[in-house]
Every structure is written in C-alpha cells, then in structure tokens.
C-alpha cells in the first residue's frame, strides 16, 4: 500500500522537458516499481514467523511502551508552552513513574538535577538559546 501511494505521488511529480534525460521523478519511479516487486515477492513467499511469535507479542510490555510513546507526544506538544526546563523535568518524572519508580522525591531530584544541569551547561557554557516557554513569559513577562 505504501509503495502504491508512493508511486501515485511520484507520478504527480513534474517530468521536465522532452530533452531532459533525468527528471525529479526518475528515481522515485524506479524505487516505487522496485518496492512493489519486492512486496509482491514477499507476499508470494510462505510466511516464516515462528509459532511462538503470537505468544511473545502477548507477553510484551505494551502498556509501558505505548505510555512512553504517548508521554513523548505530550512532551513535544507541550514543549513550547512549558519550556525546556519544566517540560524536561515533568517528562522525566512521568517516565520514571511509568516504569515503576514510586519515590517522588528521588524522581524529582534526579529529573531536576539532570535537566537543570543540562540547561546550565547548554545556556551558560555553550551559549545555546533554549526556549523558556510561553508559561514562563506569561508569569514573568516577556523581558524575563
């Protein structure tokens, strides 16, 4: 399906003039056709998955991984609002909690130590600008 969608998009790319020997769509078309051929061979070949594969999937820690992916998504969405430091500390604390750490004070100390240490190194030592976040600007004003 992916290859077909890619092929469809590749066909919409401009071809250039008649005298052009290599156009922006040349390579994408070749790649789309090659991938379709590979996929058809893959479908035609017998499946080689082991019998225990389904059992393995059931035993995997899906809850933690999907929670971590959701946490990373939230972190990215809230990054501009919360800013580097606050978003980082909250991300790490929630991550620790999701993986079973229940000592909140320890989590807070580890997370804030790491994030603030990194913030200090990046902004004060390497002179890199890090966004302090909308929330910070709302509370302390634009000049802060």
């Amino acid at each position: 399906m992916f290859s077909l969608a890619y092929l469809r998009l590749a066909l919409q790319l401009p071809t250039g003039g008649d005298d052009e020997v290599f156009t922006p769509r040349t390579l994408p078309l070749v790649l789309a056709i090659a991938t379709i051929i590979c996929s058809l061979i893959q479908i035609a070949l017998p499946a080689t998955k082991s019998e225990s594969f389904g059992e393995d999937l059931k035993n995997y820690n899906w809850y933690s991984v999907s929670s971590l992916i959701l946490l990373m998504t939230l972190y990215v969405l809230l990054f501009s609002f919360l800013g580097f430091a606050l978003a980082g500390i909250l991300f790490l604390m929630c991550g620790f909690y999701l993986l079973g750490e229940r000592r909140l004070l320890t989590s807070l100390l580890v997370a804030s130590g790491l994030v603030l240490g990194m913030w200090f190194a990046l902004t004060q030592v390497f002179d890199i600008y890090l966004d302090s976040g909308e929330l910070y600007r709302i509370v302390f004003g634009d000049s802060a």
Binding site: L9, L57, N61, V65, L68, V76, L92, G100
Partner: protein, 504 residues
C-alpha cells in the same frame, strides 16, 4: 603519504583531540555496556554534541565512542551474558562461562588484550590498504560511483542473514524513498505535501536517533529485558578479581589472536559483512583448528573461544573504515552513521578525502589506534567502576535515554515538528523491529540515496540519457556484476539447500 601521516599525528596528538579520544572511549564504554544500546546509538547520540566541532575532532570523538561501545558491549556480554551489540554475541559464548566460573577479571582482561591486538593489526592493515585503494578509486567516474552505491545498498541486504535478504532489500528501498523527500537538486519539491518542515528533507540525525536510540530503548522496555540484566549484575557487585594473565595463557591465545585479526579485518572490509559475521567466523575457525582437548573447552569458558571473536570484531570494526574512507560507501550501520556525520560537517568521504582533507583522513586512522591504546591503558582499570552502571535501575535509565535522544535532535534543528516526526518514526521503528525487519539497511539507503541519485544523474547526462555505461565502462560493469552476484548468492544457496533436503 609520510607527510599525511605526520599531519594526522599532529592533529590527533593535540591536547583537545587526545581528550576527545579518551572521553569518547569512556562514554562509548558506558553506552555500549547498556543492553539495547550499541555503537550505532552511541555515535548517533554524539552527533548533536559534535556539530560545533571541527571535522577532525568530531570524527576522533566518534571513533573513540565506536571502540568504547564495542568494548562496552563485550563487557556486558562477559559479565551479565547480555551482549550490548550483536558483534559481542560470540564473545558471550565463552566470556560469560569464564566470568561465571570465578574469573570475571581475567575474562575482561582477555577481551581487552585481544581487542587491542585485533585493533592494532587492523590499524596496520588499514595504513597499508587505504592509501592504495584511495589512489585506485581516484580513476572512478560518476557511473562507477553509481554502481558502487548500488553495490553498497545490495551488499548490506545480502549479508543480512537467512530469511532477511528480501526484508533488508525492502528496508534499503524505504531508506532510498525517504531520501527523496524534500527539494531535489533542480528545485522541485518532492513528497513535501506543501509542509515547510519537509522542504529540506528528513534530517539524517532525526532518522538515526529515531530508528536506533529511541526504538532500541523502547524495545528493551517492551521485551522486559531490564529485569534480567539488573539481577545478573548484582553478582559482580563485590568485585571482578585479578585482571592479570599468566604467561602460558598468553601463549595459548596468541595464535588465535593473530589469525582472527587478519580474518576479522578482511571480513570487515566487505561492505555489509561487519563485526558480527567476523566474530562468528573467527569463533568457528578457532574451534576447528584447536586440538581435540581444547575443542572440548569451547562453550565452557575457553580462553581461545573468548579471544578469537573479540579480536575479530575489533579488527572488523577497523576494516569497515576501508570502504568508508576510500570509496565513500559505509561497510556497516555504524560507519553509515559516521558517513552521515561527515557529510553534515561538509566533508565528502571517498577517494578525494585523502587529498582534500588529509587531516581528517589520517587523524581518524591514528585516533583509531589511540582509541585501542586508551581502552587498554585507561579503560580496563576503570572497568570495575564502570560496571556499576549496570546496577542503575532501568526505570531511571530508559526515560533519560529517551530525553537525551529527543534533546539531541532538538538542539540541532530547534524544531518541535522534527521532534514529533521523530516520535512517529520511533514508534514505527519499534513495530518494524518486532516484525524482524533490519533497520540498518534503511539508514544505509537513506544516506546513500542522495549520492546514488546525483551520480546516476551525472552518468546519464554524460552518456546522453543512455544506460550503456552499465556495460560499456569496464569498472562499472565489474561492480554491477559483483552486485548481481551478491544479490543472487543467497538465492542460489537457498535453492541448493532445498535440493539437498529433497535428495536426502
């Protein structure tokens, strides 16, 4: 050449670059020791840090990280039977039994000495072969380069192991497809969906961090391997014992080290073969050539069984730099990441590197040797302390790895859209890994994609749109035939095996 070597020595021996090698080895050992994070992830994590460095220092740091990570992977294989890298799997066969029988210090020392000699012999061979190959490859035209890129893509797929060739091919093609996103050289936007975030294409750093660092950390959580490693690491909390070797032990392993170094280097030179295949081949070879009574010891903590794969994987790591430095095609996933890093510094690896950037070229080779020396002299005594890292609870470590991966990408692009894309690619990479699709060919296809298209365009323009260069230029024809042979080899061996089965 002598001038170049002196220039390289001058660059490598500056206090900054010496500190880079040491820091690289130390950090690499730390990261490589963590199950799930190998040299590729370690180097990917270093890329954002090295963006502000000059190319030579950046590459020296990465070479140190590479060796450190390979050594760190072996350490966790020996101490807790959890190889941090696939190249250290064969190390665990005899390393873990030797460590479990009360000699963890000795097992680590054999691994370190073997790695050192493997790396030393590899570096000597590198000195001999790289300038020669670089001179030969100067006569290459764009059509030859196109064929070489094609060879690089297919050979990695072909060496991917039984039942993996087709999957690896698909992943290479996917990587090539992802490389077509963004503005093409004529200025036409391809697959950008009118989104300005895609105009410059997908960042190599984003893709490597998402597919390796992020995905590997998530897969470790998914499989729940952290429980196993933390309980196993507790038994070495008391100490590792003596790191010294007896004279007869050295005599026993010396021939194995010599043989495995040469084998490992030449296997490493083959694009796609890499440290894993080299270590397994060396282990198998040593078991076959060992006297009968020594053969019995294999799998029970044999010194030769530990020294052979360790030597070979380090020599292969050195060997894998040959195609990168001379032809500009990476021989492994790690060198693929390094190729991406070099390109981001504005340095084009290949035959011209030897002429245009002799400082980078020679400094990398010299720092590889320095890396081996530092691992032996400084890292080995530190191992008992570094090993305590294995006791850090995974509930802390995994979110920190995720945080550093995300920050690594953010600090280069300062774009939250890139972070979102990274999370999406990371999540897809987890599923792709569960379906047993290798991710290294994806990265390789992505990195080689741009160069492949550029060289194909140039070749077609020179040949007036004809593809006759494929058979009319002898070098191109040779490489194309080699590519076809490499592609057909697994298919032929599969048919042969089926025939044997049906006959029996």
């Amino acid at each position: 050449m002598i001038e170049g070597i002196l220039f390289g020595l001058q660059t490598a021996f500056t206090p900054t670059n010496l500190a880079m090698v040491f820091l690289g080895c130390l950090v690499g050992t730390f990261i490589g020791m963590l199950p799930g994070l190998g040299p590729v992830s370690a180097i990917a994590l270093m890329i954002p840090i090295t963006y502000g460095f000059d190319p030579a220092s950046g590459m020296i740091l990465m070479a140190g990280v590479y060796y450190g990570a390979v050594f760190g992977g072996s350490t966790s294989a020996i101490l807790i039977n959890a190889p941090g890298v696939s190249g250290a799997v064969a190390t665990a066969f005899d390393g873990y039994p030797l460590a479990s029988s009360g000699y963890p210090g000795k097992a680590l020392a054999i691994a370190a000495y073997s790695s050192f000699f493997g790396g030393t012999i590899g570096a000597i061979l590198l000195f001999v072969f790289v300038p020669f190959l670089a001179k030969v490859s100067l006569s290459f035209h764009s059509s030859d380069y196109f064929a070489l890129m094609l060879f690089g893509c297919t050979s990695v797929a072909a060496f991917s192991g039984k039942g993996q060739v087709l999957k690896a091919m698909q992943m290479t093609l996917l990587g090539l497809m992802l490389a077509t996103v963004g503005d093409d050289p004529s200025g036409v936007q391809r697959f950008t969906f009118n989104n300005p975030d895609f105009y410059d294409g997908i960042s190599f750093l984003l893709l490597s961090m998402a597919t390796f660092a992020l995905a590997e950390a998530l897969v470790v959580v998914l499989r729940g391997t952290q429980a196993k490693t933390s309980s196993a690491s507790k038994q070495f909390a008391q100490g590792l014992g003596s790191l010294k070797l007896k004279r007869e032990e050295v005599k026993d392993i010396a021939p194995a080290v010599g043989r495995s170094s040469i084998l490992g280097f030449f296997v490493g030179v083959l694009p796609g073969a890499g440290a894993t295949i080299a270590s397994f081949l060396a282990y198998g070879m040593e078991r076959n050539v060992a006297p009968k009574e020594k053969q019995q010891e294999f799998g029970q903590g044999s010194h030769r069984g530990l020294a052979a794969p360790e030597t070979a994987n380090n020599a292969a790591s050195t060997g894998s730099f040959v195609p990168l430095l001379t032809l500009g095609i990476p021989g492994s996933a790690t060198t693929a990441v390094m190729l991406g890093a070099l390109l981001s510094y504005g340095v084009q690896p290949g035959p011209r590197l030897y002429i245009d950037n002799p400082d980078v070229f020679w400094a990398v080779i010299i720092s590889m040797y320095l890396g081996n020396l530092i691992l032996l002299v400084l890292n080995l005594p530190l191992i008992p302390y570094i090993a305590k890292l294995l006791q850090i609870p995974r509930q802390f470590l995994t979110p920190i790895i995720l945080f550093f991966s995300l920050m690594g990408v953010y600090l280069v692009s300062f774009s939250t859209a890139d972070l979102m894309l990274m999370v999406v690619i990371g999540a897809i990479a987890v599923i792709v890994r569960l379906l047993d699709y290798p991710l290294a060919p994806l990265l390789l296809g992505f990195i080689l994609g741009g160069m492949l298209e550029d060289n194909l365009r140039r070749a077609l323009l020179i040949w007036d749109g004809s593809i006759a260069f494929l058979w009319q230029r002898p070098i191109t024809l040779c490489i194309i035939l080699l590519t076809v042979a490499v592609l057909l080899a697994p298919l032929i061996s599969n048919i042969r095996q089926r025939r044997k089965v049906s006959q029996s």
